[in-house]
């Protein structure tokens, strides 16, 4: 509204309900929302709430919190929280930290950029099974990696699969492309002239990164971290195939699956799933609270 426009005439005393609703944005267009809204309520909200109330009705009795008490008193179940965080946090951190310098090298235009970007994105298509098979065959006792090490004079093959490391590697391989793509797009959203201005004013390369680019990039990095953390936190198939599913990599999703669909204790399974969501949301909330303290103005990149 420009100031030169006259004020609209005051609404009539008896404007119809339809009219008044339309002024608040409620009109026939909103009927288009109905299928989507029904969909998300029936297929997402209802199951989640159903699972929540199911988790308070333990199969073996023991009060509404029976399942949760059982979870925290059984070390085999309780430790899954720590095991999952020990995998998810480092994996997300590695993916984000590795993306920053690589995205830095790849911004701007140069020949072969598309090739390198495509090569970095290809791991998305690998899928967990090929990655798992590849890791088992490449890093295994007779695999190429250990053969190279033996040739270089290492005494014994290193054990890198069917334990913690195998799962971590598979999380890095599958998670890195996502982190890299997001970081690259956040980075290319920062106007290069800001850095050029700093350079003109005599800021060194390091200062420009430290005081110009990093603060502008940090909110995006927080989001990238959250998304890769969610991916890593819900690790399931690779924890079974390249991990040690009943020991070192007995993560929460395995615990939830096994209780619900192997032992048919749906109620305890739902409780584990709810705790899984809770832990994940807690980590994300921490990151987002930290993000809220950062600079969140324009990055000059929006066209």
């Amino acid at each position: 509204m420009t100031a030169t426009l006259e004020k609209p005439p005051p609404p009539l005393e008896k404007a119809s309900l339809k009219h008044r609703l339309a002024e608040r944005g409620v009109d026939r267009t909103l009927w288009l929302l109905v299928p989507g809204a029904i969909f998300v309520v029936v297929l997402f909200l209802y199951p989640v709430l159903y699972g929540l109330q199911l988790s308070f009705q333990p199969k073996d009795g023991g009060g509404p919190f029976g399942n949760y008490i059982k979870f925290f008193s059984d070390p085999y179940l309780r430790d899954t929280i720590w095991i999952t965080l020990r995998l998810g946090l480092p994996a997300a951190l590695i993916n984000v930290l590795a993306s920053i310098p690589i995205a830095f090298q790849l911004r701007g235009k140069f020949r072969g950029k598309r090739t390198i970007t495509t090569m970095l994105v290809v791991p998305i298509t690998l899928g967990t099974v090929l990655t798992a098979q590849g890791l088992i065959e490449y890093l295994g006792r007779a695999g190429w990696f250990n053969r190279v090490l033996l040739t270089l004079g290492v005494d014994e093959p290193i054990r890198l699969v069917h334990n913690y490391w195998g799962v971590l590697f598979s999380l890095v391989i599958t998670g890195f492309p996502f982190a890299f793509l997001l970081t690259l797009s956040y980075l290319s959203g920062i106007d290069p002239s800001l850095e050029q201005a700093a350079a003109t004013l005599g800021a060194s390369r390091r200062d420009r990164f430290r005081h110009i680019t990093l603060p502008l990039l940090a909110p995006g990095l927080a989001i990238t971290f959250c998304l890769t953390f969610v991916l890593a936190f819900s690790v399931f198939p690779s924890a079974i195939m390249v991990g040690e599913p009943s020991g070192e990599t007995h993560v929460m999703s395995i615990a939830a699956y096994e209780t619900a669909f192997r032992d048919f204790d749906y109620s305890l399974g739902a409780a584990v799933a709810m705790l899984m969501a809770l832990v994940m949301l807690a980590v994300i909330a921490l990151v987002l609270v930290w993000r809220a303290t950062l600079y969140r103005g324009a990055t000059g990149g929006k066209g």
């Binding site: 944005g25 409620v26 267009t29 909103l30 288009l32 929302l33 299928p35 989507g36 809204a37 969909f39 998300v40 309520v41 297929l43 997402f44 909200l45 199951p47 699972g51 199911l54 690589i102 090298q105 970007t117 994105v121 290809v122 791991p123 998305i124 298509t125 690998l126 899928g127 099974v129 090929l130 990655t131 098979q133 590849g134 065959e137 490449y138 695999g143 190429w144 990696f145 391989i173 793509l181 997001l182 956040y186 290319s188 959203g189 969610v230 819900s234 399931f236 198939p237 195939m241 999703s253 699956y257 619900a260 669909f261 399974g269 739902a270 799933a273 899984m276 969501a277 990149g301 929006k302």
Partner: protein
């Protein structure tokens, strides 16, 4: 291309090349193994054959599995576009009370790990005897797909000028004509991009399909997973052959997707410096 002689750049490129070499190893080992007659304690296999592919095709009933995968993926794409695009239109064009809440509700299924809502969802689907069939798999896969279409289409619709619609209405177009003859052609690129992304996600979605699939409704990923867990009695080559089939079909899909969507512009749309 100009590589400055700074140590930081060299370290970065070095690490990148190290990662790439290992990646080639990780991909190359099963790829080579799927063609190997036998491969034990040596650098390279002692002979090559393509018979593992025919064996995998027969043993895992791949035609059937691929048909199910195709059915599920196409159904999920069509339904999620039909439900998602109108919702995205309303979200892009109107401000109304409760919009924020609705947005959060649409965002959650994308952000939450599939396992957390998949387990209650599968329990509910089993309760209504939907799980274990192709229908159940489709329904479960729709849960993240519909919000995904909404989230990708809303910004796309926002950037279509409302004046075009107003002009059409001024010229006497009916609502149906506006939708079919003005909006639909403008929306096609966005719908195409969203559909391909949903297709890739659905073909690759393991958790939800795994939780809801029965023996006749396994998609390629799930059947692949089962083939690994039952691998004790078979040669690893058949599993590798199947994994290679899966990966190459995903690769084809991704290459098609990249022709329509520029992945680095998913977050911010930046004008390319010419």
């Amino acid at each position: 291309m100009r590589i400055a002689a700074r140590p930081g750049a060299w370290i970065t490129w070095g690490l990148l090349i190290f990662f790439m070499i290992n990646l080639v190893g990780v991909v190359g080992a099963p790829l080579l193994n799927s063609f190997a007659v036998q491969w034990f304690d040596t650098w390279l296999p002692n002979g090559y054959t393509t018979s593992w592919y025919t064996e995998a095709w027969r043993e895992f009933d791949l035609l059937e599995v691929l048909l199910v995968t195709f059915q599920v993926a196409v159904a999920v794409v069509v339904i999620s576009v039909l439900v998602g695009v109108p919702t995205a239109y309303a979200l892009a064009r109107r401000q109304f009370p409760g919009k924020k809440l609705l947005n959060v509700l649409f965002l959650l299924p994308i952000l939450m790990p599939p396992m957390t809502y998949g387990i209650p969802l599968a329990t509910v689907l089993y309760k209504f005897h939907l799980a274990g069939s192709v229908t159940g798999v489709i329904v479960a896969n729709l849960v993240p797909a519909v919000p995904f279409v909404i989230m990708t289409m809303t910004p796309f619709i926002e950037q279509i000028d409302t004046k075009i619609e107003s002009a059409a209405r001024m010229c006497g177009a009916k609502t149906s004509a506006i939708f079919l003859r003005i909006l639909a052609p403008l929306l096609v690129p966005g719908i195409l991009a969203a559909s391909i992304l949903v297709l890739v996600r659905t073909v690759g979605m393991f958790e939800l399909t795994f939780l809801t699939a029965g023996p006749d409704s396994e998609t390629l990923v799930v059947s692949l997973f089962y083939s690994v867990s039952a691998a004790g009695i078979r040669a690893t080559q058949t599993v590798d052959a199947m994994a290679v089939i899966y990966t190459s079909s995903m690769l084809v899909l991704l290459v098609i997707a990249l022709r329509f969507v520029n992945p680095t512009q998913l977050v911010t749309r930046l004008k390319e410096p010419s």
